[in-house]
Amino acid sequence: MIKFISRRLFNLIFILLGVSFISYFLISLTPGDYLTNLALNPEIPPSIIEKIRKDYNLDKPWYIQYFKWLHNLSPIGFDTKEKHLFIKPPDFGYSFSYKIKVSTLIYQRFGNTILLSLAAQIIIWLLAIPLGLLCAIKENKTLDKIISFFSFTGLSFPEILLGLLALMFAAYTKLFPIGGMTSSNFDEMNSFQKLLDILHHLFLPALILAFTNIAIIIRYARGAFINSLKSPFMKALKAKGIPSNIIISRHIFRNALNPLITLFGYSFANLINSSFLIEVIMSWPGLGLLTLNAIFSKDIFLINASVLLATLFLVLGNLIADILLALVDPRIRYESSNKL
């Protein structure tokens, strides 16, 4: 198991390298750089723009900029004067737009995005598994069709529209705040009130994020449960006379979990990436807004850090899914298989 995990983590490094390389290359294909935006600003003289461009190495070709960035990022540094290697803390660079370290920026917002995605994930899985089971048991009956209909509505509804409807709902009923993560007087609250305030703000965005992504999980859960329900050992259990609820809770569940767990890791990573739109609409201060602004202003270091983070989540999500799978399903043990 340890070997398996370490090999996956080692592959992770190559994946991250590849992704960042492609990202730098693609960005270089678009015209201009961060400072192009300032060229039409009447208050900024062009000579200053040229100076800043030189300072930030933006006038060098993209592969040189990539290697410089890589050098800053790696924990191993190479000193060209003394010609020796040394250990240094990895540096993600400075954001041109925000003028502070990229790591600080991401650290400030990263927790907020995780919170939103986690809340949505909890809502989805708490609802999807029972609903999927229900659909499987009542397969092709009216209840199944109704639940499927609603879940697909959520999938096809444009998130932006749902977000706007939620904002209007909040404004007119005054039950929920209109976007944002905290109230204006957040600092004056005690810890418990702060927790309640965040949950109050969290509810609508998490609900929308969940609603638009729940369909896939319900369908998968339904399919997995149906598979288990139709399998031969079910007949044997029924013949033995074991009551339905024990069959479902003890046997069906564990067998159906196999595909669901694979989905868990993937869907968590997917949620982080799909939360971007909701964050913008409902002013949730997360990575989504930050990355969007970074892309529009071609803030290269920030874009790359966000891209790396998204990739990291995807790979880690899948890794966790695989580990969980190995733990749950005794048929799958990575050490002894020939796959490695």
């Binding site: 201009g32 935006n37 300032l38 039409l40 009447p42 925000y98 907020n112 409902m282 807004l289 529009f296």
Partner: protein, 584 residues
């Protein structure tokens, strides 16, 4: 008895002296004779995006940053955005020498920084040196230079500074305001400027206590992605007519709301007190909700940056392809003044204003709009919608309108069909719609154009680096109404002389005339004379039409009914430029 009398006398004289002293020092406060209000309360504002920095030397890059630093830092003078007058700020008065090159500023003796230190001439000189420091890249460095020569600042005493200009320079006094010359505290930042790390100070991750200010508000807290909280500066140097120290509000909360719809919903529900940039498409909705939600929605006037349609007149040779940047035949059409005038007569501006701006825009005749009351030349030609006149001009210019397959086509002397691309920025839907209207207008005179919306960065690259476009529809913002702020646009050698940038020598006679006139208006302090020159420049622009000015949107702000002392103006920051005077 005598003893008691002496004691009484001494007591009275001490009182008298202290009263006189207080009156003297009080005189150094700036007393606003027409302002009164209630102290206390909180004002809630909104911003579409986070500020990027709290350092006033870097904040002009982003409007979201300068919005906040304008409430925190002061300059030697300030500009009243409503009346366009220059008013005293940290300097209580100033005088200039006979030759106009030496200026002496007298600072207020009682002005203090937010940490209690006095503001002195040392701070002014320190600020100028910081701006000129080779390691510090700030836009002010070039703005505060005259013909590439730096200004010299000499300390006369603790509260008097002399600034020497290399020549008479009309906009000098205007540049001593907080946007281009925000005074910085020497006692706080001298060490950081010396070791070159000043530009990373006063950043988003700085401790609010470290940001020492001279303006009405100081930073209390910044919550990333959510809000900026400002609190009143207890040492601010302005007072109202009742000697109450300004600013009135205890706190200002600027919420960062990324979505326009949220902003409007918050306005209607009363959670937001003021919003200054109402878009044309949202005006009627907000107007209908305004009275029940206790709001005033005010049309401030025409915004100072009208929409421009211009053609690429750049006849330079592209060093890479060894050919002109655009097709020779297109260059010959565009460089023909009659052609450009014909286009101006062919565009139905009223229709665009009615259908796309829902009447929240007005026709603009030139680069200045009526909002610029002093500098605007009202005697310009009206290029009204007149297709016949347009056809007449085209015929005079050697073009022919023919019918082919029941479609009109315009051809030039060499039988080339007249068609070209019109680029504009894709983020602005209103502008793209306007471009489509223009396209159908031009079809009526046989010209077919292709509207190409581009992402802003790509657009800028074409306009300033690659020059491979035919025509463009765009508007520039005007940070200041003085003609000196148009120098970059009007001088033929400038990179922002958008129809033909970076000319080593003016290509046309009229561009040379504009260059000369603009240099002349820069070299005198006589505003009547400057106006004479500037009116002539506008007349030349009107005669040769390198840019066709179409219309300017109305500047609209919305604010709670019970906000007092608002003096909203069409120039940014519209309503909060006098934030210290605003009160409930």
């Amino acid at each position: 008895m005598k003893k008691r009398f002496c004691v009484l006398l001494i007591f009275l004289s001490i009182n008298l002296i202290s009263v006189i002293a207080e009156k003297r020092t009080e005189q150094d406060f700036l007393i606003l004779p027409n302002t009164s209000g209630t102290k206390g309360g909180t004002l809630i504002l909104a911003s579409i995006s986070d500020p990027r920095t709290f350092n006033p030397l870097l904040s002009s890059e982003e409007q979201s940053s300068s919005y906040i630093t304008n409430m925190m830092f002061e300059g030697l003078v300030s500009i009243n955005l409503k009346t366009q007058e220059i008013q005293p700020a940290l300097a209580k008065k100033w005088e200039t020498s006979q030759d106009g090159k030496k200026w002496i500023f007298y600072l207020r003796k009682t002005a203090k920084w937010s940490d209690g230190h006095p503001i002195t001439a040392d701070d002014v000189i320190f600020t100028l040196n910081t701006i000129y420091h080779p390691k510090i890249n700030t836009p002010s460095k070039d703005i505060l230079q005259v013909n590439q020569s730096k200004l010299k600042a000499i300390k006369i005493d603790d509260h008097t500074v002399k600034i020497i200009l290399p020549q008479v320079y009309a906009p000098f006094l205007r540049q001593m305001e907080k946007g281009s010359f925000p005074i910085l505290p020497k006692h706080k930042w001298e060490a950081k400027v010396k070791d070159g790390s000043f530009l990373s100070e006063m950043s988003l991750s700085s401790d609010p206590h470290e940001i020492i200010v001279s303006g009405p508000y100081m930073l209390e807290k910044y919550v990333p992605g959510q809000r900026v909280i400002l609190k009143a500066n207890p040492y601010f140097y302005k007072m109202d007519k009742n000697k109450v120290r300004l600013p009135y509000f205890d706190r200002i909360i600027i919420n960062i709301i990324s979505d326009y719809n949220s902003i409007y919903l918050k306005l209607i529900s009363g959670e937001l007190d003021l919003w200054e940039n109402v878009r044309a498409e949202d005006y009627s909705l907000l107007k209908s909700k305004a009275s029940e939600a206790k709001f005033n929605i005010e049309i401030l006037g025409i915004s100072p940056g009208p929409e421009m349609l211009w053609f690429n007149l750049n006849n330079g040779i592209n060093p890479k392809t060894k050919k002109t940047y655009i097709d020779e035949k297109k260059l010959s059409w565009f460089n023909n003044t009659q052609f450009r005038k014909a286009i101006a007569y062919a565009i139905n501006r009223e229709s665009i204003i009615k259908n796309i701006y829902y009447q929240t825009a007005k026709i603009a005749l030139g680069m200045e709009t009526e909002s610029n009351t002093f500098w605007y030349n009202p005697n310009l030609t009206t290029y009204s919608y007149d297709i016949e006149k347009s056809k007449e001009l085209l015929t005079k210019a050697g073009f022919k309108l023919i019918e082919e397959n029941s479609k009109k086509k315009l051809i030039d002397k060499h039988a080339n069909e007249v068609k070209f691309n019109l680029i504009t920025n894709s983020e602005n839907i209103t502008r793209i719609n306007a471009a489509n209207f223009i396209s159908s207008d031009l079809k009526k005179i046989g010209i077919s154009i292709n509207v190409q919306p581009l992402e802003f960065r790509s657009l800028v690259a074409k306009l300033t680096e690659t020059y491979d476009y035919d025509a463009c529809l765009l508007a520039f913002t005007r940070p200041d109404l003085d003609p000196s702020s148009t120098m970059n646009f009007l001088l033929s050698s400038s990179g922002m002389h958008i129809w033909h940038p970076n000319q080593s020598e003016p290509f046309t006679l009229w561009e040379k005339q504009i260059d000369d006139l603009m240099h002349k208006q820069l070299n005198t302090y006589d505003s009547q004379l400057r106006r004479k020159y500037y009116w002539e420049v506008q007349k030349i622009m009107d005669e040769y039409l390198p840019v066709i000015y179409l219309y300017a949107p109305l500047s609209i702000s919305i604010y709670k009914k019970n906000l007092k002392n608002l003096k909203c103006s069409v120039i940014e920051p519209h309503c909060v430029w006098n934030i210290e005077e605003l009160s409930w």
